[in-house]
Subunit: 342 residues, 2 copies
């Protein structure tokens, strides 16, 4: 057990073979995958949706409490989430990784185990990528590709006055999971003999370490004939995402605090840290739920999907973006989302 194989003992091509030999292809559109200068895709008359993300150790993740398998899963999930946010179906990913000699072949296997689990979960094909060294830490570049019927993609720009503001799942849990892991890390660094106290925190910790992309909601939209007018995924916190939709659509909105979905587990975790659960939902981020607007006529179509909450409505731009608190107060929504440059 705990074998350690140096990556340098394989060489680049043997390493790529090793990491990609178990690839399973789920989509007929994946014509040519790993092993050539580029991959080839045929979307048969659909439009192609594409996004990419860079994830850097020490900036986007901390390997002290992030298992590599979870990191692999999350890498795919967060990129798939961006494809979902366009109302598209994810189909392929390309994955580039760079790592220092601190990482063994077994560590890379753990990471890829998570990647393949997510590919299986979301039925996406790993069709290409790059594998190289870094001077420091683990660096991940992920490109996700999806398909959508011609002109059925949904941007952040289409929200109109009178439409409903909706969000999937629940919010704030990932931020509290992260807060908890950061606390346990601090305690561990001060006294390595103290064991982490994560009892009863499975939900929040699970949300930060292994988020899921809402492919199921995109499928529900297609099945029920709902086309959101604007959509974005909640990666930086609800406030920040609402403001993106309002600014890009040229509208305002009213958000009801009492309608924001926050689970009991999240509330309890928030109170432990003397945090306001609503603030965690508004500013926390990393929820990877979908925030979208729909026409009022589509309201009844939501009834079959109890993981969607109507949290407010769209107004004129002049009215601004406001939250009505539980106490009845009205306040402008401000973005306090994550900024990598601060």
């Amino acid at each position: 057990m705990n074998e350690r194989t140096e990556v340098s003992s394989l060489g680049e091509f043997a390493l790529i073979d090793h990491l990609t030999k178990n690839i399973e292809i789920h989509n007929v559109s994946s014509i040519l995958g790993v092993g050539d200068d580029a991959a080839v895709i045929d979307h048969f008359g659909k439009q192609t949706v594409v996004t990419n993300d860079l994830l850097i150790e020490g900036v986007h993740f901390d390997l002290m409490y992030t298992p590599l398998k979870h990191l692999g899963y999350k890498t795919v999930a967060v990129n798939v989430s961006d494809i979902c946010a366009m109302n598209a179906t994810p189909t392929q990913i390309l994955l580039g990784i760079a790592f220092s000699n601190r990482f063994s072949l077994e560590a890379l296997d753990d990471f890829y185990e998570g990647v393949y689990a997510a590919c299986e979960q979301y039925k996406v094909d790993l069709i290409g990528g790059d594998t190289t060294t870094s001077q420091k830490g683990f660096i991940i570049s992920c490109t996700a590709i999806g398909e959508v019927a011609p002109d059925k993609y949904v941007t952040r720009k289409g929200a109109q006055k009178g439409e409903l503001l909706c969000v999937t799942g629940d919010l704030g849990a990932a931020f509290l999971g992260l807060t908890l892991l950061e606390r346990e890390k601090k305690i561990f660094l001060e006294n390595p003999k103290v064991q982490p106290d994560l009892e009863g925190e499975t939900y929040t910790v699970g949300k930060i370490l292994k988020p899921e992309a809402r492919v199921d909601v995109i499928e529900y939209f297609e099945k029920t004939g709902i086309t959101p007018t604007a959509m974005i995924d909640v990666s930086d916190g609800l406030s920040s995402e609402i403001l993106h939709i309002c600014q890009q659509s040229g509208v305002g909105c009213v958000l009801y605090e009492e309608k924001i979905p926050v689970t009991e587990e999240t509330r309890k975790a928030a109170f432990k840290f003397n945090l306001d659960p609503t603030a965690c939902a508004l500013s926390g981020g990393e929820d990877y739920e979908l925030l979208f607007t729909i026409k009022q006529d589509d309201f009844e179509k939501l009834s079959g999907e109890n993981s969607i909450s109507v949290i407010g409505y769209i107004t004129d731009e002049d009215a601004g973006a406001n939250i009505i608190t539980k106490g009845g107060g009205k306040h402008p929504i401000t973005a306090q989302g994550w900024n990598a440059f601060k």
Copy 2:
């Protein structure tokens, strides 16, 4: 002059706006670009070709002698080159960058100036990406997308006995340019007062700092009706690329040393370092020329393009991959290409 603006003074979204405000769109297939969760592409019945690359400071480039503008240009060029190697036309790129606070806004502007110059040169559209921080150095992730008529893409697998082995342009120059820059860096580090001696070395230094992708050759193929049977771009050295084609096609080959295109500038530079020009072409890499095989019937169609050299022919697999030297000796071709993990 030499102003320095801290990136942190802008924040992420203002930075993205700043870096992408001058984007020009060249392709009708670029339906939706920068500014949403993902970009949207419509290739109108063509197949999509996609590749990605990670470039890490200290591993793939040295900013001590690589101007950021050249680095931006090269990032696009090397990814476009992979698209060309599939016999496809490059159409879009996505660009992710991560950088430490050592990099000012002006430095990023230099980098993007090169990126946009390459987008203009190759008529590709920058349609998305990611902008974030790194703990150390400059990290680049580039995804390039291209289009090809259905099933007209060319892999490394199609070479057959009797076909001609061809290469574009000339080889070995980039390796000598790099050798020269590394020597000047070493001299500078030992004695910072010594000025770099790059006189007469414009060609080799130009090839390493600002390589060009052979989009022109792909256009020539289309115009003259040539479809290569196998193709790869020369990034790791001629030997390594020939072996990829032979192994993946299940064939052998004969390569004539005297036919390998090496310019007079490259020969002179090689002799200065007591290096064999042929060895530089075989093992140097970073040439970004195209290596391909064609049927003998297509030979006459090459006559209109004097930048293509026939350097050998394809044999049975059993005959192996061999080079016939200028002296008439026959030796197996061995890969000594670049390995990031050694």
